[in-house]
């Protein structure tokens, strides 16, 4: 009996060692924010990578929404328990960039690992967001989208409108909403991501500054500037629509998407990446249009991106960094990018992926899916339309959301709300500047 135990123990011991030698694969962690359909597609990418080679294993974990993922990553970093790869949404970019020493810059990571990597293969409107002013790419663009106007064609018909009518300006949109309200449509207009669509993209699209110092690209001493007359006019219009029952506020993030997919909302401004969910759930005919603008100003500039990039956090072994580099290079492969673009509605972030999608006839078969790309790249980028690089921006967005809620509920005028948001936001920018000197 004693012998038997010893034998079992030695077998177990042997198996453990054998296990480790078989498991010589390097394992790396990736924290992200994708659930639902996007989560499935992300899981597919990881499985494909793990099956494609036998040196590395990527383990992915969902950490909640974008903000929660960023915060989990930061808290873990402080505790020394951070993952190799962290998904950071565009709003957190400035915070990461300022935290020198918390990450391994992308160009460095790829160079150290001897990985072939071409930063020029990325669409510049996207990669510019994650690249320093002297042209060094710090993080790897993963999912990028831009806001568009989604149309429920069935409700348009019900409202007695031509579903193909011109909706290129906010004035025309306003007329359509009047008609819809008159016909008893309960929710003529709704929107997701208020600050991102109606202030950040609005500024770029109308070629006016959202903040000074080239929206923060040119220095930490930037100040918010989204209380110009054009901004005020737009937010006041939204407030008026809300008071008249033409625009229903559903929440700060993408809550309104549910109402659109359920066929309740006629027109919605939301990310082009709403595509995956709308295509899957909508039981009505839908259309995609460019984001509307104000006709009185010059023709629209270009919109900017939202979405995330992947940061390689520092403090990891050389072997693990090699694995990270290999995985990120895999993600930027043309076939992976093209599939991601077509499945999700996110932009093709490499030029090759966009070309491949075009030549495959995808845009013809799915009209409107190319609009986001066109809208982003329609003009030469100006310093107002390159993007935003503002510290504590997640918090500033929270302030903007709060103030806009005041406008929608009729408690404040757009002037008062935006002035207050600028003032409160500037306080945070100064605090960020001070903490990151």
């Amino acid at each position: 009996m004693k012998h038997l135990k010893a034998i079992i123990a030695s077998i177990a011991l042997f198996a453990m060692f054998a296990g480790t030698s078989l498991q010589a694969k390097v394992e790396i962690q990736w924290w992200h924010a994708f659930g639902g359909r996007l989560g499935e597609l992300l899981d597919e990418q990881v499985n494909k990578f793990n099956a494609s080679q036998n040196k590395y294993t990527v383990v992915h974990t969902r950490k909640g929404n974008y903000s929660e993922t960023l915060n989990a990553g930061i808290a873990a970093f402080r505790a020394g328990q951070h993952p190799n790869i962290l998904m950071v949404f565009e709003v957190g970019t400035a915070s990461l960039m300022a935290a020198k020493g918390a990450y391994v810059p992308m160009y460095q990571l790829m160079k150290d690992a001897g990985q072939k990597f071409n930063p020029n293969g990325f669409v510049s409107a996207v990669s510019g967001y994650y690249t320093t002013t002297d042209g060094k790419m710090l993080s790897m663009p993963y999912n990028s989208s831009t806001p568009v106007l989604w149309v429920n064609k069935d409700l348009m018909k019900k409202a007695g409108l031509d579903p193909e009518m011109d909706l290129s300006t906010w004035k025309r949109v306003g007329n359509a909403l009047d008609a819809a309200k008159a016909k008893g449509i309960d929710m003529p207009f709704c929107t997701c991501w208020h600050s991102w669509v109606h202030l950040e993209n609005f500024s770029a699209y109308h070629n006016i500054p959202f903040a000074t110092k080239a929206n923060g690209f040119a220095g930490l001493d930037t100040e918010l500037a989204f209380n110009s007359p054009v901004h005020i006019k737009h937010i006041q219009t939204l407030g008026k629509w809300a008071q008249e029952g033409k625009f229903k506020y559903m929440g700060r993030r993408n809550e309104a998407g549910k109402n659109f997919r359920a066929g309740e909302c006629m027109l919605m401004t939301e990310s082009s990446a709403g595509y995956a969910g709308i295509k899957k759930e909508a039981k009505f005919e839908f259309g995609i249009r460019h984001l509307p603008y104000y006709g009185a100003t010059e023709a629209p500039q270009n919109t900017i991106i939202g979405g995330s990039s992947l940061w390689a956090l520092s403090g990891k072994s050389k072997e693990e960094n090699k694995a990270t580099a290999a995985f990120l290079a895999f993600l930027s492969r043309t076939d992976i990018q093209a599939k991601w673009h077509q499945d999700t509605g996110y932009l093709g972030v490499t030029t090759a992926a966009a070309k491949k999608t075009k030549s495959s006839g995808f845009y013809k078969a799915n009209p409107g899916t190319d609009l986001a790309g066109i809208q982003m790249m329609r003009n030469k980028v100006t310093q107002n339309s390159k993007g935003l690089r503002l510290g504590s921006f997640d918090q500033i967005r929270g302030i903007i959301d709060e103030e806009m809620e005041g406008v929608y509920s009729g408690k404040k005028t757009a002037q008062v709300a935006l002035d207050s948001a600028v003032k409160r936001g500037n306080v945070l920018l100064r605090r960020f500047e001070r903490a990151n000197k």
């Binding site: 970093f77 918390a102 559903m250 504590s392 959301d401 509920s409």
Partner: protein, 293 residues
């Protein structure tokens, strides 16, 4: 007569209080000390560098109108939660106390909501009042009342108070019921024989005799409303709209863990610490005097 026990020597008493001291140190003195220390610094989120700023974090806070507004929000919220849940708890306990048949069943059912964690309670109420799929909001709409707590501050406040009080009613019910059952029947019967009405008996006998329990519940409920309602607020409103449901504790969380401003968050914790200290002193010094044990 007070009983006093004296120990010879010091090592036995020291040993006996050591576990308590250790726990107080690990879970109270050490973190409080850390909070006070951190409130004097302005660190970057990743903890890579930090700067000593003296009392600047406090100056920054006290000049923020939203921080000052959150004091008012906290007072409204905790008063509403404590009063409504205690009043309803007492009412239900008075009813259950008079039950003759099936008392056990009623009592069990009434205690049930207490078993539900605040975050889950929050999600339940959120589902009922959700603008898209909520039953309550659907019926309110049918009655012609527009429910949208994502936009209307007073509705949001009402909802978090409702969700926070709900589970608390059970807790208060339990204590009030025990208190009511501890009141000797003979006193009440004697008063009844003397011709005192139900309300007279309730007002002059029951309430004073319940005062120790009421006082205990008041303290516990205020502490609950101050600190434990975090889960409810986080799941239902995340402090919005326009910070109308951001109570002090929620602000500590949202500034510290959402906005990564750990200096300001630590300063808020210190202010909260002082505040709760003052509150406790007031409660025990002034209110307790009026309580009959």
């Amino acid at each position: 007569m007070e009983k006093r026990v004296f120990f010879k020597g010091w090592w036995l008493p020291a040993l006996l209080v050591a576990p308590q001291l250790l726990i107080s140190f690990v879970f109270f003195f050490y973190p409080s000390g850390q909070a006070i220390w951190n409130s004097l610094f302005l660190p970057d989120p990743f903890g890579l560098k930090t700067e000593f700023v003296g009392l600047d974090n406090f100056r920054f806070l006290l000049s923020d109108p939203y921080y000052l507004a959150s004091f008012k929000t906290t007072v409204i919220f905790s008063t509403a939660v404590s009063v409504s849940s205690m009043a309803l708890g007492l009412y239900l306990a008075a009813l259950a106390d008079r039950l003759i048949k099936g008392a056990g069943v009623y009592q069990t059912l009434l205690i049930w909501p207490y078993a539900i964690a605040p975050a889950i309670a929050g999600v339940l109420w959120l589902f009922m009042f959700n603008g898209n799929i909520g039953l309550a909001s659907y019926y309110l709409k049918a009655l012609g009342y527009e429910w949208n707590h994502t936009l209307k501050g007073d509705q949001a406040m009402f909802l978090v108070i409702l969700a926070s009080s709900w589970g608390r009613i059970s807790y208060n019910f339990l204590f009030f019921l025990a208190g009511l059952q501890a009141i000797p029947k003979s006193i009440i019967e004697a008063a009844a024989i003397d011709g005192a009405s139900f309300w007279k008996r309730f007002g002059t006998i029951v309430i004073p005799l319940l005062s120790p329990i009421t006082f205990f519940l008041l303290v516990v409920n205020i502490v609950y409303a101050f600190f434990d309602t975090f889960g409810v607020i986080h799941t239902i409103t995340s402090g919005g709209p326009e910070q109308s449901t951001t109570i002090l504790v929620y602000k500590v969380f949202s500034d510290g863990f959402v906005s990564q401003d750990l200096g300001s968050s630590a300063a808020q914790s210190v202010i909260l610490l002082v505040l709760v200290g003052i509150l406790t002193v007031i409660q025990f010094k002034y209110i307790e005097r009026k309580v009959h044990y």
